[in-house]
Symmetry: C2
């Protein structure tokens, strides 16, 4: 898997969060994940299936960032990661993957998306179990950190 495959997810995420929540994410350096573990408090995950390959995408937020995004979108800040927050994380997961799907489709790389799943739990970790390389991309912002991770089989 080429690091270039992360870029459509990266630009889609930056676009979604600046549009929906007036939050500017600053991308860090993408890296091939080996035994590094990304840790967060609420994550959205989605499976992807296409004719050339299959894979998975995840986005993980610090609690602080997830709550701030909710506040900026809805004008009210939840006390904790409740159902409204997990709905929002599921929706962001769908939107970011959908945006990346459009960008990758223009390059002839097609996939269909499964439905998103949201995980919440203080300091959980996520491991993508595809056979391909795992690329992780950290983001920082004024309200906390996030990271995305993408993995496809056989690229």
């Amino acid at each position: 898997m080429n690091v270039e495959f992360i870029n459509p997810f990266l630009s889609s995420l930056i676009n979604v969060l600046s549009t929906m929540a007036q939050t500017q994410l600053k991308p860090g350096k993408p890296r091939i994940k080996t035994d590094e573990i990304a840790c967060g408090d609420v994550s959205g995950l989605i499976g992807m299936v296409g004719p050339q390959t299959r894979g998975s995408f995840s986005i993980t937020f610090d609690e602080e960032l997830a709550l701030t995004i909710m506040e900026r979108m809805l004008g009210e800040r939840p006390d904790s990661i409740d159902e409204e927050v997990t709905d929002m994380v599921g929706e962001i997961t769908n939107m970011v993957t959908g945006g990346a799907k459009n960008l990758l489709g223009e390059k002839g790389f097609d996939f269909d998306m499964a439905t998103p799943i949201v995980v919440s739990g203080k300091g959980h970790t996520i491991t993508h179990k595809s056979q391909g390389k795992k690329i992780i991309m950290p983001f920082s912002s004024d309200a906390g950190n996030a990271n995305i991770e993408v993995s496809f089989d056989k690229l």
Copy 2:
């Protein structure tokens, strides 16, 4: 979504764990999940995409059960949920979904599987964000509890 859709996952899981780890799981009562939250320590998740629908499947284990399965499969008990355990949970997720895919395919219900993702973290919770009903099925055993959850859009 009909509760009948859970049965292929149920029988596939029972079959996989009795074959691979000599562990008999006793199914509880399946239920439509509303705001009930299933909680566990290590989970395998996978997306499914088919011509009729798309959805997601998850299986969540207590740490005790996950470590016991490893012990029965490999003869050695890990101290904690390490990479070998998450690999095993990813593999079980693939095998259970693959078994259910075969059973459902015989009934004319086809889907392709994405690649599995494994989550670890004490007491995390999982929410499937499809538009369909979420069906949860608890299991008990001599070594701890597990539960599976399945959700498809538009059934």
